[in-house]
Symmetry: C2
Subunit: 169 residues, 2 copies
DNA sequence: CTCAAATCCAACCTGTTTACTTGGTTTTCA
DNA sequence: TGAAAACCAAGTAAACAGGTTGGATTTGAG
């Protein structure tokens, strides 16, 4: 179980999906804006999530992504291992032949830790996260922004910000 | 608390030091051979370990490295954070301003995990590892090889291996 | 006293991964 | 039929891993 920002991005995006379950499918554009992740990077992550059977995409206007399963049946560990294909960063990460076909000095230590991390992340589902108070709080703030964008109240602010960013480049 | 092979190398090397505590100082050459880590890479790691006050080196022939403290007073977490200077791989690794100065959706999740990992690694010392049966077993095997090298019993094998490796290059 | 063993130090290098961009093609709803 | 969306392929800058090269300095052992 590797822990990288890649995995974190994936979990954040999946959580965004879970938060909007029941509504129309969520576009990557939407997630990109909300979570501040680049659209094409999201595309790459979601290609893997789709291949792992965690999400399903529907094309065309009105399309987007939905969770492929109930959110209570998707663990954080699953999401992370879907995007972080283990590029054998091992020596002792894996399967006990780290030193001349024998276990190295610290083999047990790392596999013990690895198990603990996996257990932790495997014991938490998207469904559970959705009900956490701090997640709800952040989601409500984001929803307000989203709503503001739709009704046009924040549009001028965004346009101005874009202009400023444009000038900086 | 980042987890990389770099940290693992450091812990393995420090454990080698702990195992030979009381004898003459351990040379990096020695560790390089035993743990199959390149000498110059070890030098870089030990530069950091020394700056963090975990080891002390003595120069000249007969020199080498010793633990700067009792092995029971050195936790695994300390060793890892000595070599893995946190190159802010964050977004949520650290201090809560991951998204527009606010916490991002998954902030609590990652800090909770991070704490768990730290607690685990901070609760284990080199001294404790030294007494684990599986470590003792591996250490004894390595000690046999070391002894064999000193008495010359394995010298011919090593020389032959060197010749083969030379041919391959 | 000298030489070799060792630490110490700085620079460079190759390959991989991360996070992202560019520039498309395809599907499908409005 | 046009545009919104997923899909796809390639390239890229920066960082990091895990070294190598080539020394300099210190110091014990012969």
């Amino acid at each position: 179980m590797r822990l990288t920002t890649k995995g974190r991005y994936a979990v954040t995006a999946m959580l965004d999906l879970a938060l909007q379950e029941g509504k129309r499918p969520v576009t990557l554009q939407d997630i990109a804006v909300n979570q501040e992740i680049s659209l094409s990077y999201l595309e790459q992550l979601f290609a893997k999530l789709r291949k792992s059977g965690l999400v399903q995409g529907t094309r065309g206007p009105g399309g987007g992504y939905r969770l492929a399963r109930k959110m209570d049946a998707i663990s954080i560990a699953e999401v992370i291992s879907a995007v972080d294909e283990k590029a054998d960063m091992t020596r002792c990460g894996g399967n006990a032949d780290c030193l001349d076909g024998e276990k190295c000095l610290t083999h047990e230590l790392w596999s013990e830790l690895s198990n603990k991390i996996f257990e932790f992340l495997n014991g938490i589902t998207l469904g559970e996260l959705v009900h956490r108070p701090e997640v709800i709080a952040v989601a409500e703030r984001q929803e307000a922004v989203r709503e503001g964008l739709r009704t046009g109240r924040l549009k001028t602010v965004v346009v101005e910000a874009d202009a400023i960013i444009g000038n900086l480049k």
